[in-house]
């Protein structure tokens, strides 16, 4: 027997999505300006690139380089700033047939709050926010806010006061114990957790005797980090009860199933978009196919259904 009907509808907080396949921040622009062959209506949601208060031109090149089964990037949060975003991009979302989540970044708590408030102040079709806490924070000596449970809790507590929309916190993997940060942001009222952002890495060009990326350290993404991401998603799922959106090295439907089994309720596709920006649609198909072949009616039957050995 093979099922003919499978159900991919996905709920996070009070928001319903067509399916649990989202695109990751920084890998799908603002959801606009994509090649014509990409059908975004097939996606569960699009996460915009990180929006900051002022526009940022980003870092000098080189900004990206390939590594074994992965890539390093240090784009430097290049983005048009919240004002241009509200003026030029938000109006486009009226005609978009998928859910939009705005990723927000900042160098100070204040910056996050201002960006979120400004977007809240206009009526829009945005369903929620993903808070990128992996940015260097000037108030804390350039340290990433997201490595400190208390600071993360404080930021999310403040942001929670400003919005009733979906508030998702995106965690950095560059910490000793990601569960602590997950607990702290759950306690602060986050609706969900995204994990993981990129892993700190570095490349060296032995001919030039320079780093392969201008900023020396950069973010590692792609299949190389999938084992790291799976471990972190699994750990977080043992700690918190809010949904987790799994990210890291997903390139096909089987990878999605891995993340679901590890405890994710939805997933995001990052680096794989660069190879084929339509990979989301393909992955939705593969996921449907998998459910049919395994006679699973609703994809959520897979979430956390891992049988540990011990």
């Amino acid at each position: 027997m093979r099922l003919d009907l499978t159900d991919l509808t996905c709920k996070i907080g009070s928001v319903k999505f067509k399916n649990p396949v989202f695109t990751a921040s920084g890998t799908f622009s603002y959801g606009n300006d994509l090649p014509e062959f990409v059908d975004i209506s097939m996606l569960g949601a699009i996460i915009t690139k990180s929006i900051t208060y002022e526009l940022r031109v980003g870092n000098p090149p080189p900004r990206i380089v390939e590594t074994p089964s992965g890539m390093l990037n240090s784009i430097g949060l290049a983005n048009i700033g919240v004002n241009n975003f509200i003026k030029d991009i938000i109006p486009l979302y009226k005609n978009i047939d998928t859910k939009i989540i705005v990723n927000i970044a900042g160098s100070t708590n204040d910056e996050y709050i201002k960006v979120l408030k400004d977007i809240e102040s206009v009526s829009s079709d945005i369903v929620g926010y993903e808070i990128n806490i992996s940015c260097p924070n000037v108030e804390h000596g350039g340290m990433e806010l997201g490595v400190d449970a208390k600071l993360s809790n404080k930021l999310i507590t403040e942001l929670r006061k400003q919005t009733e929309k979906l508030l998702i916190v995106k965690l950095t993997p560059n910490v000793t114990d990601i569960s602590k940060i997950a607990e702290a942001v759950e306690e602060a009222g986050a609706d969900a957790i995204s994990a993981i952002n990129t892993v700190i890495g570095m490349g060296i060009d032995i001919v030039k005797r320079k780093p392969t990326i201008y900023k020396t350290y950069a973010g590692l993404s792609g299949p190389a980090i999938k084992p790291i991401a799976l471990a972190m998603v699994h750990k977080i799922s043992k700690t918190v009860s809010i949904p987790i959106i799994g990210i890291g090295g997903i390139v096909n439907g089987e990878n999605v199933v891995e993340f679901l089994l590890a405890g994710a309720s939805a997933i995001q596709i990052g680096t794989a978009n660069f190879r084929n920006p339509n990979v989301g649609e393909i992955i939705v198909d593969e996921l449907n196919q998998y459910l049919k072949e395994n006679e699973i009616l609703h994809y959520s039957e897979l979430i956390g259904k891992l049988n540990l050995y011990e």
């Binding site: 031109v57 000098p60 080189p62 900004r63 990206i64």
Partner: protein, 254 residues
Amino acid sequence: MIIDKSEIIENIQIADGIWQMVFKSSGIADRYLGAGQFVSILVDDNWEHPIRRPMSIADVKDNKVSIIYKVFGSVTQSLTQLKSEDYIDVLGPLGNTFNVDYNLIYPILIGGGIGLSPILNLSKSLAQKGIGVTTIIGAKTSNEHFLQHNPNNNMFLCTDDGTVGINGTVIEALNIVLKDIKNPKIFACGPEPMLFSIQKMLDKKSIPGQFSVESCMACGMGICQGCAIPNNNNGYHLVCKAGPVFETNEVRFD
């Protein structure tokens, strides 16, 4: 822009470490706008190399698209293994084109290293329109050349070691060529140091030009922001989208 599984028609070595590949893609050929545009290729399903490789379009004839590539690392190495009737995954056409306002200027085309591909393409398409051009192609040594040095036909080769054509860089050749030309405009593609030298020279002599520039690309279609190159306004252009062709004074190499 499309992604096409294209059938390879030919894949042959044309000079020392330089290969030419022709593949069939009406989808890309139909959307092709002109010299300067590029495609981005995936050799196989292997995720050891997650990222496509950009390659300038060297020629489009009917539904056949050519690229000329140099063997650098593992991906271009495995590219040489493909044979006719194999398939290759190609994204394109990408980027903008050279814009030759040929009524007003005399085009001097300069290609260095792997930058010769869009230059040959431009040269051919101008020749088809009956427009006279002078072309300068530079390489380290004669083995890397697959063209003929032919000054009478306005085709100048140069080599760093003097083994063929003019002994020296394209700058030396350009200096020679420029002597006899009125209203020149330069169209160049090649390694960054070459473009930087040409830029300084053109700047001094107030000669206009266009460069096709390179940069590390992850997506080739404006979504990763990886391919930035400094503009002259404290910001950056995205080479894959605003370029790869820029007016010489729109980009900074310093």
